[in-house]
């Protein structure tokens, strides 16, 4: 073969493989409002930065007529590239090739790029769009999934792992996203479930649509399996890019610093909190009034919204924010909000991101459903995660900090490095109403006018204990600060904590109340 022919042959092979499942399958994909796998990668990565590997990998299955089937790239595209200059490893399942079904060669391409990401110390991004196991490959297909799950687990806490579900992701396959740090979903496109609507209908006789069972909205609001919800793929890709700027490449690095920016004008931080402790406000206003450029990237905004978590920057440094949200369920701790906060705290600790906690909660959500759902075990996860974390931990008590909730929300006693309280803080064993009713029960019952005495005792208790000063007198609070001083205190606390180096007893691993 002449040199020219050799090169022409190469480009022909490459173009053929890059066409994926061919014109018919591509038409179908587009008709569903979905982008093609390679276009998705290109939309996420910096222009021209994508470098693809393993384009010519082929399956070795010879059963059920598979020996006659050629599957370009075996249904998955893998490579490396950059996002706003940050290197990442990426794979995207190609639904146009045999429905994105996962065979052994497909899985081995994924595990190879995962191994690369681990060795190189760069984040891994996976785009899931697959009908599931390639049935013809039998147990080899299951082996492929298992090998991916194992690597997801090995990579956990070493490199950030991001899953973008842009199509079906069902059965065992959905456990890979579940093992990763952040799951992105898109309205009407993402479908995640273990058993689909058809199985549920035949076995259980229950009828439900795919969207209602495991659509993007359900996974973002009801189950909490997804972290970021978008209306379109384009919006989703912008979210992914933004997230990557907040997190480090791996667990040996810190997140990149950005030029410091002041919060945007227009937040009167002293006027956000209502005078009455029983009235709501949006804690995100407090966060935005304090962080750089008022830029707060909220995570799991729709699920367990009584707890607000997300990333922000202080003087250019990434911080992880955990805050009770009085706007929703009064900001109580419950099963879901505990799970949500605990996992986020562990992510921040694994990736050297300081934690800033804003406290304003009435305690735990009362109810039979909560107790029976194991609020004890789930609530314990927050205690575990905060106690275990060795990154700088800074706590600001805005208003209510009662009982177990006070302890759980990164109190001094769980190892907070700095605890600040606003003058509006009420740090007590429980709210004035409850406390007065118990302490003065006998007196109130015996009084001529029990209601008047009760009110008086509630008032007395509130004046004496519902303040930050008892806690400050005991050194549980380091400083009582005005709301306007909060950013300054936080920035300073982060800056003096840069070299923080705290150690925990040597162990294989702890046994958290999963």
């Amino acid at each position: 073969m002449s040199l020219l022919k050799t090169f022409i042959d190469h480009f022909t092979r490459r173009d053929r493989a890059a066409l994926g499942g061919g014109p018919e399958a591509i038409k179908k994909q587009v008709a569903q409002g979905k982008l093609l796998a390679r276009d998705r990668i290109k939309a996420i990565l910096d222009p021209g930065s994508f470098h693809e590997y393993d384009l010519f990998v082929e399956h070795k299955c010879s059963d059920f007529g598979m020996e006659k089937k050629q599957l370009p790239g075996d249904g998955v595209i893998t490579g490396t590239g950059t996002i706003l200059g940050h290197p990442v490893a990426i794979f995207a399942q190609d639904f146009t090739v045999a429905g994105g079904s996962l065979g052994l060669a497909h899985a081995r391409k994924i595990t190879k790029i995962m191994d690369h990401a681990m060795k190189l110390g760069i984040p891994l991004i996976g785009i899931n769009d697959s009908g599931g196991a390639r049935i013809q490959e039998g147990v080899n297909s299951l082996a492929g999934y298992g090998e991916i799950f194992f690597r997801n687990t090995m990579a956990s806490g070493v490199i950030p792992q991001i899953s973008i579900v842009l199509g079906p992701c069902a059965g065992g396959a959905v456990y890979s996203p579940a093992l990763t740090d952040f799951v992105f979903v898109v309205d009407k496109i993402s479908k995640m479930f273990i058993t689909g609507p058809e199985v549920i209908k035949t076995v259980l006789g229950e009828e439900i649509s795919m969207e209602d069972l495991g659509g993007a909205r359900v996974q973002s609001e009801i189950s909490g399996n997804a972290h970021f919800y978008a209306k379109s793929e384009a919006e989703c890709f912008e979210q992914v890019k933004r997230l990557v700027t907040f997190i480090p490449w791996n667990n040996r690095k810190k997140a990149d610093s950005f030029p410091p920016r002041f919060p945007k004008a227009g937040f009167d931080i002293g006027a956000i909190i209502p005078a009455k402790a029983s009235q709501p406000y949006d804690v995100r206003d407090v966060i935005r009034a304090i962080c750089d450029d008022s830029d707060f990237m909220e995570i799991q905004a729709l699920w367990a919204a009584n707890m607000t978590i997300g990333f922000a920057r202080l003087e250019g440094h990434t911080v992880g924010i955990v805050a009770n949200q009085p706007l929703v369920l009064a900001g109580v701790l419950d099963v879901d909000s505990s799970d949500k906060a605990a996992r986020f705290i562990r992510f921040c600790d694994a990736f050297n991101i300081p934690l800033v906690t804003f406290v304003d909660l009435p305690g735990y959500l009362p109810g039979v459903d909560q107790e029976h759902a194991g609020v004890i075990r789930h609530g314990a996860k927050i205690l575990y995660a905060y106690s275990e974390a060795t990154v700088p931990k800074i706590t600001v008590i805005l208003r209510k900090a009662y009982g177990g909730g006070y302890i759980a929300m990164c109190s001094r006693h769980l190892g907070a490095d700095f605890v600040f309280a606003w003058p509006t803080a009420e740090i007590a064993v429980m709210g004035p109403e409850g406390a007065a009713n118990i302490i003065f029960k006998g007196e109130i019952a015996a009084a001529k006018d029990p209601e008047a005495l009760r009110k008086q005792k509630v008032q007395e208790y509130a004046e004496k204990f519902a303040s930050p000063y008892v806690a400050a007198a005991n050194g549980h609070v380091d400083a009582v600060i005005a709301p306007q001083e909060t950013r300054d205190f936080l920035v300073h606390a982060i800056e003096v904590s840069v070299e923080k180096n705290e150690h925990r007893p040597a162990k294989k691993h702890g046994v958290p109340p999963f």
């Binding site: 076995v203 259980l204 006789g205 229950e206 609001e221 009801i222 402790a277 029983s278 009235q279 709501p280 699920w303 367990a304 919204a305 009584n306 009085p326 706007l327 929703v328 369920l329 009064a330 900001g331 109580v332 879901d336 009435p362 305690g363 735990y364 959500l365 009362p366 109810g367 039979v368 459903d369 029976h372 009662y402 009982g403 429980m430 709210g431 004035p432 109403e433 409850g434 009713n437």
Partner: protein, 102 residues
């Protein structure tokens, strides 16, 4: 905003909004010893008692096949069967009432 609801914690009524999951809570109902319900969805394969039968605790009443397993559903106590609401071949959902005792 006027669409705030109240949530009572430790005697204090807080103004706040509620979540979909909170509103979807199922109220607690204590177990009724006079009713036997399906603990898992499946298909009734056999019915071994009828209304008016006197049964003893642990006696097999129904066979419920679910997830490829045949489950023996037994009488929770010595009792008289008031009614059996299923026949062999019926598909039942979780929590569906199967047998009532007097």
């Amino acid at each position: 905003m006027s669409d705030y609801k109240t949530l009572v914690v430790d005697g204090t009524a807080y103004e706040t909004t509620l979540t979909r999951n909170y509103l979807r809570r199922k109220p607690y109902r204590p177990r009724d010893p006079k009713r036997l319900a399906a603990f898992i969805p499946g298909v009734i394969r056999a019915v071994k008692a009828e209304a008016g039968c006197r049964v003893v605790r642990g006696q097999s009443l129904l066979v419920l096949e679910a997830m490829k397993m045949e489950n023996d559903l037994v009488a929770p106590a010595d009792a008289v069967v008031k009614a059996i609401y299923v026949s062999p071949g019926d598909t039942v959902t979780k929590g569906q009432l199967l047998v009532e005792f007097e």
